[in-house]
């Protein structure tokens, strides 16, 4: 009897050991794939620049480690199978680590608390309370979540936090105390649709994943298409997609030979649709394909073949890393290399967003002259950021005292080129035909347009 009692437990131990071995032995596989994509190929222009940039530029006192009382900041990101935004928070953390190693904020190091969530509203609310009540954060930076803006905005508003994040839900742009560095699904889809319209397509099929707010997202492209007199069909797909063939056929049939299919999906889902179109040999049955920003990854460019060069046009919310050779871009790459071990995706829009948000936060914190870092002073500083050149965006970035914020409303368009995303069109303003954009520009005036000086 005892023998039987012990043997089954041994089975569990064996199974658990197997799992541990697999995890330990194979853990190099994911990092090896990221290194093949994260180190940029040595190109004539960027190689010498990278070597010359020292990460110590991120702080005010190069080489001096910050040792004062920490300034606590927090961020909430989604992390579940298929949708993980931890890279954004981890890159922000890398930036803060660099700053801490080079003088900190007037000698104070930044302590960054990252909370992850699995799209559970109560859990997200609990995470916010953890940051405020237990971790005593004075500012919220780096939030990237499918529904966090929706769930927590009233809480942040009540406590006086002005959140800088990379949003997805509509509240990330439509409320006074949320602001982002990205454009989000609606305005990025606007950009993609706008590009398609500019190529004189005769019809647009806009297909998106069935996440919260599809109506809000589709309203922008619909307004643009209507104003241009181009018929538009709105479709949604439940994700994950298991029948990509029928989705691709449906889209292509609807768009027609002179039409455009514009997608708004996460990279893996967009990939299955595009790949299906390619294996069905129907990718040329429409004039062009468009995609909102999530498609802007080199992973996607590599997985798609050369057939998509100048066929797929992706709206890019941030400056293309490979073709941009500015000090800030090189600093980003250097910080990623030195402090960004936890950033699994390497160079790409996710880590760029994390960098930019951290950059803005640090800029704001450095502007505080009183030496006290409380919820009131830090968030006042966040709000006061005006015409800041992040080096990653088409425009100067302003928070502003407005009821809504679409600080990033001018974007690039990129296209795959043999495994990399390259620029197809430079900075282009999102059209004011989208009523939300019009409303924001009315509020913000010139601050809304503020292009970066060439």
């Amino acid at each position: 009897m005892n023998r039987h009692r012990h043997a089954p437990s041994a089975r569990i131990l064996i199974a658990a050991a197997g799992v541990a071995l697999a995890a330990a032995g194979c853990s190099s596989s994911s990092s090896s794939t990221s290194t093949t994509t994260s180190t940029p190929p040595p190109s004539a222009t960027s190689a010498p620049a990278v070597a010359a940039v020292s990460t110590s530029q991120c702080g005010t006192k190069p080489g001096v480690a910050a040792t004062g009382t920490p300034i606590a900041l927090g961020g909430i990101v989604t992390n579940q199978p298929g949708t993980s935004f931890t890279d954004i928070a981890n890159m922000a953390n890398a930036y803060f680590a660099c700053v801490n190693a080079n003088g900190g904020i007037n000698g104070h190091p930044i302590k960054y608390y990252i909370e992850t969530e699995q799209t559970n509203p109560t859990q997200i609310a609990a995470d916010a309370r953890q940051l405020v009540d237990t971790d005593h954060v004075v500012g919220i930076v780096g939030n990237t979540s499918i529904i966090e803006c929706a769930v927590d905005t009233p809480y942040w508003a009540k406590l006086g936090y002005y959140v800088i994040g990379s949003g997805i839900a509509s509240q990330c742009w439509g409320t006074p105390n949320n602001i982002t560095v990205n454009m989000g699904p609606r305005y990025s889809s606007d950009g993609a649709v706008q590009y398609a319209i500019a190529q004189h397509v005769s019809k647009i099929v806009f297909d998106q994943s069935n996440v919260p707010g599809t109506g809000y997202i589709a309203a922008g492209p619909n307004a643009l298409a209507k104003a241009a007199g181009v018929p538009i069909t709105d479709l949604t797909e439940n994700v994950p997609i298991s029948d990509a063939d029928s989705v691709a056929i449906k889209e292509v049939d609807d768009a027609g030979p002179n039409g455009a299919v514009v997608l708004n999906f996460t990279p893996p889902e967009a990939l299955v649709i595009l790949k299906a179109a390619q294996t069905l040999n129907i990718e040329d049955h429409v004039k062009l394909w468009g995609c909102s920003t999530p498609c802007n990854t080199d992973f996607l460019a590599q997985s798609l073949g050369p057939k998509w060069n100048d066929k797929l046009f992706v709206n890019a919310e941030l400056a293309p890393p490979d073709s941009t050779n500015t000090p800030t871009m090189n600093l980003y790459k250097a910080i990623l290399k030195q402090y960004g071990k936890a950033v699994s995706g390497g160079i790409g829009s996710f880590s760029q967003m994390g960098f930019t948000e951290a950059e803005i936060a640090v800029h704001a914190l450095e502007s505080i002259t009183s030496g006290t870092y409380t919820v009131a002073t830090v968030n006042a500083a966040f709000k006061a950021v005006t015409n800041y050149n992040t080096g990653m965006l088409c425009q100067l970035w302003t928070f502003g005292n407005y009821p809504m914020h679409i600080a990033n409303n001018e974007d690039y368009t990129v296209t795959p080129d043999n495994g990399k995303m390259v620029q197809a069109q430079g900075c282009t303003l999102i059209s004011s035909v989208d009523p939300q954009i019009a409303a924001y520009r009315a509020d913000a005036g010139t601050a809304a347009l503020a292009p970066v000086a060439p």
Partner: protein, 297 residues
């Protein structure tokens, strides 16, 4: 209602989707007939193998080696599970055995998300050499991979059906699946037969996993839970007939895709497998109580 010509390409894609469900569904029924276990981890195991194959290709290994490794990984995991957890659960209800495989599914699902993360916007895919060549039907291209997928379903259906019925080893497997103890008293080398059954099933899961990763998506969530839709075909065949599973899978795929162009129904088309299975089962069970429990066996 769209015109008939609109439906034509969906017939082709529907057959391909049916082939996908068939590959999974037939695999499940074969495993059930051979081991007595409804191996719900079929999709997860295949996904794991496919992801390992992807990693190998990224590291520079030639394609065919990665495929072999994929099959080997799936076979090893399945064999391991069968040897560890087959015997202690052999006397239990088929339901308990099936729920146990859900435990394996969860373990694999967690491991896959840990090792192959999506935190940087990673989008992975597997390409087989047969992907980009094929022939054109109804203005869309049918690629050879889909043909292979469908053919694999047919071959597996025929071959395993014959194997289980006509060979000694197959008969021994079926006997063991029915009642392990009695089979042991008949002098059948129980452990060897069991190992052979699980190993064979693991190979099947690996092959299916590779094909499905190519035809559907190389995504742990999609592939792991594809079994749920394939279960519909398995249920319609009442876990007995491999051929019926195949046929039901094809029908489900066809109906699913044919609904796509109908605008009022298109958002509900993913319900097709579930609705068909529920209706079929409830119609069949009108007259009799249906069970798969030890008590009533």
């Amino acid at each position: 209602m769209p015109p008939w010509s609109d439906f034509e390409p969906f017939i082709v894609s529907g057959l391909a989707l049916g082939g996908v469900y068939a590959l999974s569904g037939v695999g499940l029924v074969v495993l059930y007939r051979a081991t007595g276990v409804l191996y719900l981890a079929f999709g997860a195991v295949g996904a794991m193998g496919a992801l390992v194959a992807w990693s190998l290709v990224q590291a520079g290994a030639p394609g065919w080696i990665s495929w072999l490794v994929c099959i080997a990984v799936a076979a090893l995991i399945t064999l391991g599970y069968g040897l560890l957890f087959g015997p202690p659960l052999s006397k239990r209800d088929p339901l308990v055995k099936a729920v146990a495989t859900l435990g394996l599914t969860l373990v694999l699902y967690g491991v896959m998300d840990l090792l192959w993360t999506t935190s940087g916007g990673e989008a992975r895919s597997i390409t087989l050499p047969t992907d980009n060549s094929g022939f054109t039907v109804a203005s869309i291209q049918v690629n050879w991979t889909q043909v292979i997928g469908l053919a694999a379903g047919v071959v597996i259906t025929a071959a395993t059906g014959a194997f289980l019925r006509y060979t000694n080893l197959g008969t021994a497997m079926r006997a063991m699946a029915n009642d392990r103890e009695i089979t042991a008293t008949l002098g059948v080398p129980v452990r060897k037969v069991e190992a052979a059954a699980w190993l064979g099933c693991g190979v099947l899961a690996g092959v299916a996993g590779l094909l499905l990763a190519d035809m559907v998506a190389l995504d742990a969530t999609t592939l792991t839970f594809l079994v749920v839709s394939s279960l519909a075909a398995v249920l319609i065949a009442r876990l007995r007939s491999i051929a019926l599973t195949f046929a039901a899978a094809i029908v489900i795929g066809l109906v699913h895709d044919l609904i796509t162009p109908i605008t009022s129904l298109t958002n509900y088309r993913d319900m097709t497998p579930f609705v068909l299975a529920a209706v079929a089962l409830l119609v069949v069970s009108r007259r009799q109580v249906m069970s798969r429990s030890r008590e009533e066996a």
